[in-house]
Amino acid sequence: MGIDRRTFLKGLGTGVALAAPGCFSFPGKLEAAGAAANKEFMGVLVDTTRCVGCRTCEQACAEAHNLTVPDINDASAFDKIRQTSEMQLAVVNSFKTEKGEIFAKKQCMHCNQPGCVAACPVKAMEKREEGPVTWDTNCIGCRYCMVSCPFDIPKFEHHSAVPKLQKCDLCWERLRKGEKPACVEACPAEALAFGARRELIEEANRRIYKNPGEYIPHIYGEHEAGGTGYLYLSSVPFEQLGFRTDLGTTAYPEYTKGFLYSVPVVLLLWPAFLSGISAITKRKDKVRSEEGGKL
């Protein structure tokens, strides 16, 4: 982790300092290197009003992760709502909404406090200081992360004898080299923007204020499930884009916190309590046998 971070900073420090303005979608607004130094989470803003459904991001994603590259000219991909899979870490879906067809990309949301990370018994799932939620090979394959993810994102290679867990890692390898995530870089419509989460929220709010009527006044991911690294803007209510709007604002690890806090208490008090009972019953037996001797 320490080395990861050092490498990351070195990469960002040199690479980004030289070409900072060109590196981000909002030149001069976002200083990722500084943001990372302050341990701010990086994220991606998805503006669904800009997305044209070209699926270039799907292609770039597959190439960056050595997965089968999808045929992005195949229009049948939009016939039904697709989920991410172990073969495809990001998918673009088409939704029929009150304002016509709108496209929305789906991938790991990179929660601020991820359920999958809290679930993992070996810390194979990790929330990096820079924002990405990544997977490591010390995974035991229990798939508890899949149960615990509010967005149902982690996918398991069931059909491999040496299976991996697949999910979007915000192009962790590329980030460490000072590059942007592959999907953001590939997007021809500037629908995706990479940067510090705080600044992305500012930018999203700016767009909402400056274009009244064009957006609904809600940034999906700002508070959902405790806040996520991926943030979405939309012109229609998010239900219409297949988003769950009933997740609440509680970070998922909070749900097990109460139980986990009770563990040391039980570990401490239970044995003492049981020993106490045992001592009492032992004494009772003794008194009984000494008094009457009758068994």
């Binding site: 679930a119 070996v122 194979a124 394959g141 149902d152 097990t256």
Partner: protein
């Protein structure tokens, strides 16, 4: 044929090997209907398990990204562990509360619990996609201390060890290891106390695993109190299984494997266990109602899943609860037997609800999880293997028999008169002269200590 009762003397490795060779031979009839059914299934299951390890999980189980956990976790592990609850409850009654009346069943319950952990919790290995990493949470290839599963994994391991210690004196008696028995028996109370603590935590921990599956589990089942519900239900689940195993064991095992007094006292014990079941089931019912009121989910009761929920609550919780009460009041074992089976079915369905039935209940049937035939065969193979091992041990080790005389004497020396009731009235005979001498010893001790 009375080999188990004759004292075994093992002085050398050769003695041990000779003894083991004679013990390894089958002790009963081989061509029984049960063996003819279970044998081939175990063989087939073993082959499928090999196949699974070489080709991956997906070639054997219904692999779906929607349902990470199928019947191997939902049934084998979740239900197996709940069914093993009889071990910690019985140990609590016998060793902590010193309910000596129930001493005759404690080994049966603990052996069942121990084997349940070895086989059912062991089945986790099958389900782990990257099984070769199984030791990682234990050896610290990163400790996921924030994870409920990390906790459960550790508690599994530690509780398995605690149960091994609890049951070990029986094996020492079988092998005639007097010194070892003395030492192991001295650890029992400690192991029991640690075991109950660990059980409390991981029975509830299995429930806590589902706390982060918030919207995936139907609101009638999802509650922040899942851990408490899992813990309370493990009490009556475990006791119902003890009743079931006792009923079966006292029937199927040869006469010389079972102590006559143990058999004679069984009916009485089963009725008491039924009473404990009834009480905990009504407590559980009360908790369920509180949770229902607390969650304000009334309208959901009038849906398909609501009917399922009500059917479970009435048919598999209240009904067996009342059957237990009826059996206890009338001193009749018949309703208790039925109630025990209904309770077991209820717990099986309850645990499967959480990972399969109420999990993503909203998906259309075509996208729901159904176990494959291979999954079911492997599951049955594991259950049958556990039964075979249980039978093998009961046929050799004093589980349903009284310990050999030397062990009883050892016990008396250890604890003076306090625990002599443990081995029933028969002891009165052996104590006729020995009791007074122990008494005398105790008095002498007192003098010395003063």
């Amino acid at each position: 044929m009375n080999r188990t009762t004759t004292a075994v003397q093992i002085n050398s490795l050769k003695d041990f090997l000779v003894f083991m060779r004679s013990e390894l031979k089958p002790k009963g009839r081989i061509l029984t209907p049960f063996n003819l059914i279970s044998g081939p299934i175990i063989l087939l299951g073993a082959l499928l398990i090999l196949y699974r390890f070489f080709t991956g999980l997906g070639s054997v189980v219904h692999s779906s990204s929607e349902y990470p956990w199928g019947i191997w976790i939902g049934f084998i592990v979740m239900v197996g562990v709940a069914f093993a609850g009889g071990a910690y409850v019985t140990a609590f009654i016998v060793y902590v509360l010193r309910g000596e009346k129930y001493h005759s069943i404690v080994r049966m319950a603990v052996l069942n619990g121990f084997l349940a952990y070895v086989f059912y919790a062991g089945a986790i290995l099958l389900d782990l996609g990257r099984w070769w990493n199984i030791a990682n949470p234990l050896i610290g290839n990163r400790f996921g201390v924030n994870s409920v599963l990390f906790l459960v994994a550790w508690h599994f391991l530690l509780y398995m060890l605690a149960q091994l210690v609890e049951i070990s004196p029986a094996f020492a008696e079988w092998l005639g290891l007097k010194k070892a028995r003395k030492f192991l028996a001295s650890l029992t109370l400690g192991a029991v106390i640690v075991g109950i603590t660990l059980s409390t935590l991981h029975q509830s921990g299995l429930g806590a695993l589902f706390l982060m599956a918030k919207w995936k589990i139907h609101p009638l089942w999802y509650t922040e109190f899942i851990p408490l519900l899992f813990f309370v239900s493990s009490i009556f689940a475990g006791l119902a299984v003890v009743i079931f195993i006792g009923e079966v064991s006292f029937r199927v095992f040869d006469k010389d494997r079972i102590d006559e007094e143990y058999r004679a006292s069984w009916n009485d014990i089963a009725i008491d266990l039924g009473k404990a079941c009834a009480v905990t089931m009504f407590v559980y019912f009360f908790l369920q109602i509180l949770v229902l009121i607390h969650g304000k989910h009334w309208p959901l009761l009038n849906t398909g899943m609501g009917y399922w929920y009500l059917a479970e609550l009435t048919g598999l919780l209240l009904l067996p609860g009342f059957l237990f009460s009826w059996g206890v009041r009338s001193g009749n074992l018949a309703p208790i037997r039925v109630a025990a089976v209904l309770t077991m079915i209820g717990v099986i369905i309850n645990r499967i609800d959480y990972s399969i039935i109420a999990y993503k209940w909203y998906l259309p049937l075509s996208e729901r999880y159904f176990p494959t035939v291979m999954e079911v065969v492997i599951t049955l193979a594991i259950v049958f293997t556990m039964v075979w091992v249980f039978r093998w041990i009961v046929n050799r080790v004093p589980i349903l028999k009284k310990p050999p005389q030397w062990a009883i004497t050892q016990e008396q020396e250890e604890e003076g008169l306090e625990r002599v009731v443990a081995f029933g009235p028969q002891l009165g005979v052996t104590m006729a002269d020995g009791g007074s001498s122990i008494d005398r010893e105790k008095k002498q001790n007192k003098v010395i200590f003063r």
